[in-house]
Each structure stands twice: as C-alpha cells, then as structure tokens.
C-alpha cells in the first residue's frame, strides 16, 4: 500500500483531511445505532441522557407484551414463508438465466429485477387494488405473495453471482460419468451454489422482515408485523419499549451481517478464489 503513502507535506495534509472527513462520516453512520442502545437500559421512561438508572424493564415490557410478541411472530411467519417461496422461484430462475442465451434476455432480466427498482409505494398500491377483490387483503397469504415478489430479485442476483464462476464442465463431467440430471444437480451444482442461495435467503428474509409499506396497505389488525407496530409506535410517541425492540433488531442485523460475511468467505474458498 506504499502507492498511497503520502510523500510530501501537502500530500500528508490532504491525507489527514480525507481521513478526518471519512472518520466523521463513519461516526455519523454508526452514531444513531450506538446512541439508542443505552436508552433501552434506562430505568426512567424518558428518552434522554443522563440515564436515571439502569434496568431491564423495557426488555421485560417488550418480551412480556402480547402485542409486540404477536407482531414478532407475524413478521417471522411472513418472513420465513416469503423466503422459502422466493428461494425456490429465484434459484430456478437464476439457473435458467445462466443457461439461456437470447436477445430477449435483457428484457426478461429487467422484468425479474424490476420489483427492486419500482418505488415500493407503487407496488403496494397496485397489489392492494388487485388483491382486494380476490380476498387477498387482511390475511397472511396476500402479504406473503407481495413480500415474495419484493424479495425474489435478491435471490436471483446472489445465486447468479455464484453461478458466474461456476464451471459448467463440472455438471458435464457428472453427466458423462452417468449421473442422472437430478443427482448431478444435487451432488455437484447445489453444493457450489449453496452459499449464494444462503445469502439470497438472508437478503430475502431481511427484505420481508423490514418491509412496512405493503403491510400498511394490506394487513388487517391480525397481521400487524414488527415494523408496522414500530411505525405506529414512532408516530404516536416513542416509548422506551421501542428502543428495546430496536436494540434486539440491531443485534439481529449484526447476526445477519456476520453470517453473510462467513458465507462470502466460504464461497470464495470453495470456488478457489482465496488468492484474490
């Protein structure tokens, strides 16, 4: 890294300014997440520093509240169902797209990835209009379908990324050795794209777990999810219980991030890209 090592006084100053600016921005990025954490352990009910004392009462409140626990459960149910559906649809599509050569391919790809680009409020309004007469609002099925549509592009992208380095000769070798297509897929292709599928699953779950606009339009009182509960909580008045929920959700994100990083390294190792 000597290429970037400053040589003159001017360069040293420029470097110092860059480092300071970048450090300030990194603090800006982390500050809100760090600042909210101690408040969730406050013994008082105001969200201000200094804390009057430490307690776990807001965590007890969160974990003991039927309303919060039901919303957490709803989020889990919808998230897991949407993840499974988008995994199946997205992985199949990524496998197909990797083998498919056609002038139409860019168009098909644009369609497949479009739920990522279209503003979610437009998707929500469209789905709300379309699903309401079909009886798909105010129940889990409609929410799961809509969340699957929003989450699938992430699976297509992550699985396609692992397929990019995939040597098709491996499946050909399996076939020439007499493996039926399904066996070759299960024993050769699947282990190689598994890390991509796993990170796709995490992206898909996080997409559904954090989604609130579609839920605002489509959920009945029985389907309120965790972000929906937080949305109304923030709108009305922020109780420290929300900060406890926020801290637990942040821990959950840390876990997701760590898993993703582990998967990325594993995938690189498996595909012999360690040296890069």
């Amino acid at each position: 890294m000597s290429d970037h090592a400053p040589r003159t006084a001017g360069q040293r100053i420029a470097r110092a300014v860059t480092v300071t600016a970048a450090a300030l921005v990194l603090v800006f990025l982390m500050a809100p997440i760090l600042a909210i954490m101690p408040l969730s352990f406050s013994s008082g009910s105001y969200l201000t520093y200094p804390l009057p004392g430490l307690s776990l009462r807001w965590y007890e409140d969160f974990l003991g509240s039927e309303r919060w626990m039901r919303s957490l459960w709803n989020s889990m149910v919808i998230g897991v169902a949407a993840t499974v559906l988008s995994m199946v649809l997205g992985t199949l599509a990524a496998l197909g797209l990797a083998q498919w050569k056609s002038r139409l391919k860019p168009l098909v790809l644009a369609v497949v990835l479009s739920p990522m680009v279209v503003p979610v409020v437009i998707t929500a309004v469209g789905v709300y209009f379309f699903f309401a007469p079909l009886g798909l609002t105010g129940n889990f099925a409609g929410l799961i379908l809509a969340h699957t549509a929003l989450a699938t592009p992430f699976v297509v992208i992550t699985v396609s990324a692992t397929l990019q380095g995939f040597d098709t000769n491996l499946s050909r070798a399996a076939a020439s050795l007499g493996a039926p297509p399904l066996l070759a897929f299960r024993r050769v292709t699947l282990p190689l794209i598994a890390p991509g599928m796993a990170s796709g699953a995490l992206f898909a779950f996080a997409t559904s777990f954090d989604e609130v606009v579609v839920v605002l339009f489509m959920a009945g009182p029985e389907q309120r999810t965790l972000p929906r509960e937080m949305f109304s909580g923030i709108r009305e008045n922020i109780s420290p219980t929300i900060t406890a929920a926020a801290v637990l959700l942040t821990l959950f994100s840390v876990l997701l991030l760590a898993t993703l990083e582990w998967l990325r390294r594993r995938s690189e190792r498996l595909r012999g890209m360690d040296g890069r």
Partner: protein, 415 residues
C-alpha cells in the same frame, strides 16, 4: 468430396440446432415459474394501477342516457331538451338505486360543488318532467343546469378513458372547450410536490456524494485488513432496520435529544434547535439511510483503479493535486454516476422516513399516493401520481442500466 461432406453436415447442423433449441426450452422452463409469479403479484397489479389512472367508468354507468344524449353535442351551446330529459330520467333511476353518489364524487373532482348539485337535483326530481319541460324543471331546481360548464363536465367524464387524472397530477385540466389549461392556483399542488420530491432527492444525492466520496476513497486505499474492519461501519447501518434507524434519529435530534444537549453543553446554542419534524430531519435521516448505496458503488470502482496510473502521473511530474484531479477523478466517474443515480432513484420513492421525521410541508409524492389510496379514496388521482413517479423512476433506471452495464444491459449477469 464436397457433396459427401455437405450431405453429412446438414443433419449435423440440424441436430445441433435441435439440441440448442432443447437447451433453450429447458432454460426457459426454469425461468417461467418466476415470470408467471411476478405477472400475478407484480406486473398485472401495476398495469391495473396504470389503467385506473385513465379509467373513467362512473358517469357512463350512472348516467348512461345523458352520456348518449350528449354524444352529438358540439359543446358550443347548451345541449338540447333531450339531454335534459335524459338526465332527469337517469337521476330518477340512480336515486332509486342509490348510485348518484358514485357519479357525484367523480364529477366533483372536475368541478367543485358538483356533488351537492347532483345530489340535490336527484333529490328534487320527484316526477317525470312534462314532455318538453325537462330543461325548465332542472333550471328551476338549480340554475347551474343553465351553464355550459356543468354539461361540459358531464361530457368530459363520459369515459371510457380520460386524461383527467393524469392532467390533474400535473396541475392541468381541460376547460369547457376541451383545451388544456393550468389548474387554479389554490388547487395547484402536485407540481410543487413533484418539485419538492426531486429537490429532496437531489439534495440527498449531493449530500451522499459529498459524505460518501472520502469514505469510499479511504476504504479503497487502506490495507485490506483495516478497510474490511471499517466496512462494518457502512454495512451494519445498511443491514439495520429502516424503522430502527429512523427511530434512532428522532431520539437523537429531538429538542431534548443528544445532539441538542451536546450543542447546549458546548455553549454553541442557548435554545434547542429544531432538527426533527422538518426538512433538516428529512435530509439527515434520508442521507443516513441512503449513504451506503453511494459508498458501495464508489468503493468498487475506486478499488479497481490501478495505483500505477497515479504513479505514472507523479513520475511524469504532475503534482499530487493535479494527478488526483486529472488522472484519478475521471476514473471514478462511472462510480459517481452509478451511485448518484441509485441514490436518486431510491430517494424519490421514499415514503416511510419523510412520513416519520418530516413535517406537513416535507411529504414527498409517495405520501400523496398513499393518502389518496387509503384516506380520501381518490384512486384515479393516486394512480395518476403513481404513473408519473413510475415513469420517472423507470426512465432513470434505464439510464442507470446503460451506465453500469453498457448499452446491452444485462443486469450484471453474464449472457
């Protein structure tokens, strides 16, 4: 010789083509389930929304005879007696079937006060008017029926399709002669909402570029071990729930919050600053949420710039600042373009963050789409506003695709 070779090649070429077609069909069969799924859960719903922005069924359904009678009307003068008689008959029937309100609501969008006019007229027509006296009867109920504009509104809403909502979304309307004119000043809000949406989008994009550039540069030039560690500072907020981050900013920026406390403690201010529930709060929270979308593309482009270029510039005698501006900066342009477009596209569709940390004057177009869908139930206008936002987004997405993947966009996947 050649004849034999030709005879052997044709079936082989055919066989190859057949095998190729088989392969393509198999590949397509894997993509079809997702395409069908998206058709049902995404494409058709959005097409349906777009259709609602031009659909105009209410008046034709509730006042069919009137619409038919106005078919031959030239619009220059009041319509003939037959139109008045048709309206009287339609209103009597609609009143009995309790459907007047449907047409009244639609016509009220076009002319303020039409709801009252239509409802009260429907209530007042008890009996079938004497032949030839329909016009006099209606005029006696309300003199508005003697005005050309009243009839032009019904004629304009005859359906089956209309540009009314799309024009309204751009603060335009049609006058009694069918010419497109600007809406009255007190009803012109959407152009300013779009301007505000794009303004906030541009501001957030500029802030993200300003803040993201040094971070991306530092991450790209530090040793891998350090930059991987610092990358957590970018990725953790990225993975943290939007609601959590929004909530955290409200806690931080409120008048008793940490930021105001710190500023007062240092003596910089005496009274707390208003940092939340206004434009400042929207800019801070949205920049925070979207910053990773700027840093990540910038980082990947900067990471790929060979350090040898800067060394070459230095060895040719360029001072570091000149080398940076003339050699390094131009190579970051693709990353800057991609990051800016991505942030802008995401920003103009924002709804939750401005709704929670903004004031009444900081709401963006998505808020109004949601408002007209769920609160006032003006689905035509909600759809038209959505159509305009969708058009802007897709246009920018196409530019983004060309920028990132070259003219034959493949979405980052190898063909």
């Amino acid at each position: 010789m050649t004849a034999i070779a030709d005879a052997g090649e044709v079936p082989l070429a055919l066989r190859l083509r057949r095998a190729e077609r088989m392969r393509r069909m198999k590949a397509l069969a894997l993509v079809v389930p997702l395409l069908l799924f998206l058709l049902f859960t995404f494409l058709v719903p959005i097409a349906g929304m777009l259709w609602r922005s031009v659909d105009d069924w209410e008046v034709a359904q509730v006042l069919p005879r009137t619409v038919a009678a106005l078919g031959a009307w030239d619009g220059r003068d009041l319509p003939g007696e037959d139109a008045y008689a048709a309206l009287a008959a339609d209103l009597r029937q609609a009143y009995a079937e309790r459907t007047v309100a449907v047409a009244a609501k639609r016509l009220n969008y076009a002319v303020n006060g039409f709801r009252t006019l239509l409802m009260s007229t429907a209530r007042a027509i008890r009996d079938v008017p004497e032949p030839g006296a329909a016009r006099a009867t209606l005029a006696a109920i309300d003199p508005a029926w003697e005005r050309r504009e009243t009839w032009a509104a019904i004629h304009g809403a005859r359906g089956p399709v209309t540009d009314f909502y799309l024009l309204a979304a751009l603060d335009l309307r049609r006058d009694a002669d069918g010419a497109v004119i600007g809406a009255p000043a007190d009803q012109s809000i959407y152009r300013s909402v779009f301007a505000r949406t794009f303004g906030i989008g541009l501001g957030v994009t500029a802030l993200c570029l300003l803040l993201g550039f040094p971070v991306a540069y530092l991450l790209a030039t530090l040793p891998a071990r350090t930059s991987n560690l610092l990358m957590i500072f970018v990725l953790l907020p990225f993975w943290t729930s939007l609601l959590v981050r929004t909530c955290a900013w409200i806690v931080l920026l409120q008048s008793q919050g940490l930021v105001n406390d710190a500023l007062r403690w240092t003596g910089a201010i005496d009274d707390p600053l208003r940092l939340i529930y206004n434009r400042t709060g929207v800019f801070i929270a949205m920049t925070h949420v979207l910053l990773p979308f700027m840093i990540l593309p910038l980082y990947s482009v900067m990471k790929a710039i060979p350090p040898a270029y800067m060394r070459a510039a230095a060895s040719l005698g360029a001072p570091p600042a000149v080398a940076f501006v003339r050699v390094y900066l131009p190579q970051t342009v693709p990353g800057v373009g991609a990051g800016c477009l991505l942030v802008f596209i995401l920003a103009i569709g924002y709804y939750i963050t401005p709704a929670l940390v903004g004031g009444a004057g900081d709401q963006m177009i998505s808020y109004f789409i949601a408002f007209y869908t769920t609160e006032t139930v003006n689905w035509g206008l909600a759809s038209a506003l959505g159509a305009v936002l969708l058009a802007a987004t897709l246009l920018l997405a196409v530019v983004y695709g060309r920028l990132v993947h070259g003219p034959s966009t493949t979405g980052g996947l190898k063909t």
